[in-house]
């Protein structure tokens, strides 16, 4: 595996390895915005890496770059030992079965004109994996997997609650049986009571299907419960990285401390 000498992967064989990712957006008036500025990390198989940071710190840009939904301006992404940065469209398209994403806002992540069944079946159809009765059975199984009634396949997104929609999005992301899932703030658009349910679902699925997560969030409590390691980002750069327990117990950077202190706490009674 060709890696640049200055980067030492934390895992002997990481599933995903990002090296020096840079994303420059060209704003109007010729200004350049460096949304992500030289970020590198690696995720071992079965691990959950959290990325935290305030809004605008480049978290979601990283999520999209890792899946090549947007092209990095510089840097490389290795997935399962393969450099996917230079992969052609068709090869990348096939690889998408291995890496999926759950978006922040389930309300806009589902096409309002297609039924839940069609939404979940979509990945299987575009990757020509299943059709007809086999497709029907797999959609049933995916609905079971996220604890939604099978009858929901005929419903439209507007008939579902936010939590139910996010379950549909998770089912859709799991349709291709990926190894790696990017979770881009999957709970922040949901009610607090529903957040916990979705996190439970994600935790269970990870154990059952031995998934690897890249979990992006600004909610530190969520990161603490779900993640093994955490990356703290500010203004497109990584300011701190380490195991969750260590970073939370003993933040070495001023920014991380500010972030931790900004979490409102209920006074003990």
């Amino acid at each position: 595996m060709p890696t640049s000498p200055d980067v030492t992967p934390l895992h002997p064989s990481p599933l995903l390895h990002a090296i020096g990712l840079v994303k420059v957006f060209h704003a109007s008036g010729g200004r350049e915005v460096r949304a992500v500025d030289g970020v590198g990390f690696s995720i071992g198989t079965g691990e959950v890496l959290g990325i935290v940071g305030e809004s605008g710190s480049g978290k979601s840009t990283i999520a999209r770059m890792v899946l090549r939904l947007i092209e990095p301006s510089a840097g490389r992404i290795m997935f399962a030992g393969q450099d996917i940065t230079a992969l052609g469209d068709e090869a990348m398209r096939r690889l998408r079965g291995d890496m999926q994403i759950v978006f922040q806002n389930p309300h806009s992540a589902l096409n309002g004109r297609r039924t839940i069944g069609e939404a979940i079946a979509e990945p299987l159809r575009v990757q020509t994996i299943a059709r007809g009765a086999a497709l029907h059975a797999r959609v049933d199984r995916l609905l079971d997997l996220v604890s939604l009634p099978r009858a929901f396949r005929h419903r439209y997104p507007h008939e579902l609650s936010g939590g139910q929609k996010q379950r549909v999005c998770i089912a859709r992301a799991l349709a291709l049986e990926p190894r790696f899932l990017v979770l881009d703030e999957p709970t922040s658009a949901l009610d607090v009571s529903v957040q916990a349910q979705i996190l439970d679902v994600l935790g269970e699925l990870r154990r059952e299907l031995s998934l690897t997560y890249l979990f992006i969030s600004h909610n530190l409590a969520v990161v603490r419960t779900l993640c093994d390691r955490v990356l703290v980002m500010s203004q497109g750069r990584v300011v701190e990285e380490g195991p969750v327990a260590a970073v939370f117990a003993n933040p070495s950077q001023a920014y991380t401390r500010t972030l931790l202190d900004s979490v409102p706490r209920l006074p003990r009674i």
Partner: protein
């Protein structure tokens, strides 16, 4: 892995059509309810339905079917409206009611072909222009559209018919050729907003190719404004075809086409007013009907625009 095996025969019978499409049925009921609450929408629907019936069964409904192909009955030239001839007769003695009824089919066909061909050209171009990343392609399509929009459609159609020679077929071809730019504009704008939606990105993340995304995500979300515009344009296309007929570049006078009838009738104004008035009324009611229908459709399909 604790995936339970899917068992299709799990205790319940296969859902009936009504169960599977419960949402769609409910949606259509709501549409019907909202639509029926508006008087103008219902009036538009009634007018359009009336003309559709006339177009479908015209030859059987006309009281004097023989009069529609240029019969000459000089004894009853230019009779005023009466019980025998409710719309009066023309200078050849043909019953105007029969001619107006039979003319419906020609006018609606012309309108339908023009709008469908116009949309058939304009919608794909609009989707491509809105979705493509290539600035060159988008620029080329949109500038060409601007070019066509800059020239009044009817004037351009006039020039084309003049070049091709008069006749119904050439009139349809000319109008269809100038009809598409509006659809490009409409669909391009809608595509630009829909393509930024998260579900498009999700589809791409699942490995969907561009044609799939265009067909399953972009087009269905552009459909409501297209349907509204189609309805509005039907009326306008009927009017444009009649205009070409009126100036003698569309249908030729023995044919019972409304515009051509008025063209001849113009020299019998104002004494024999019914000759031009009733074909004119037919044009007026058709255009009004399709416009009211389009307005009503917009109110239910795109509620935000009406401030409801």
């Amino acid at each position: 892995m604790a995936l339970p095996d899917a068992s299709p025969a799990l205790a319940d019978a296969p859902p009936t059509f009504r169960m599977r499409h419960a949402t769609t049925i409910r949606q259509w009921r709501l549409y019907a309810h909202l639509f029926s609450r508006s008087f103008s929408s219902m009036l538009g629907l009634a007018l359009v339905a009336l003309f559709l019936v006339l177009a479908a069964f015209g030859p059987w409904l006309a009281p004097y079917p023989g009069d529609t192909a240029g019969a000459v009955k000089l004894s009853q030239r230019l009779l005023a409206p009466s019980f025998a001839h409710p719309f009066g007769t023309d200078e050849m003695g043909a019953d105007l009611l029969s001619r107006v009824i039979v003319g419906t089919r020609i006018s609606l066909w012309i309108g339908l072909i023009i709008t469908v061909v116009g949309a058939g050209i304009g919608v794909p171009l609009g989707i491509v222009a809105g979705y493509t990343k290539s600035r060159l392609l988008r620029g080329a399509i949109m500038r060409l559209t601007d070019l066509f929009l800059a020239v009044p459609g009817l004037a351009l159609a006039l020039a084309i018919v003049a070049a091709l020679g008069p006749g119904i077929a050439n009139c349809i071809a000319a109008l269809a050729l100038v009809w598409w730019p509006g659809y490009v504009r409409l669909v391009e704008a809608k595509t630009l907003s829909v393509k930024e939606e998260l579900f498009v990105e999700a589809s791409r993340a699942a490995g969907a190719r561009t044609p799939w995304i265009l067909w399953h995500h972009i087009l269905p979300n552009c459909l409501s404004p297209i349907i509204v515009k189609l309805s509005m344009d039907m009326g306008l296309a009927v009017l444009s075809a009649a205009s070409l007929g009126f100036i003698g570049l569309g249908a030729k006078p023995p044919d019972p086409e409304w515009g051509a009838m008025i063209s001849v009738a113009r020299s019998y104004m104002p004494d024999w007013w019914w000759y031009s008035a009733f074909p004119g009324l037919a044009i007026f009611l058709t255009v009004l009907g399709f416009n009211l229908l389009g307005d009503g459709l917009r109110d239910i399909l795109d509620p935000r625009s009406s401030g409801r």
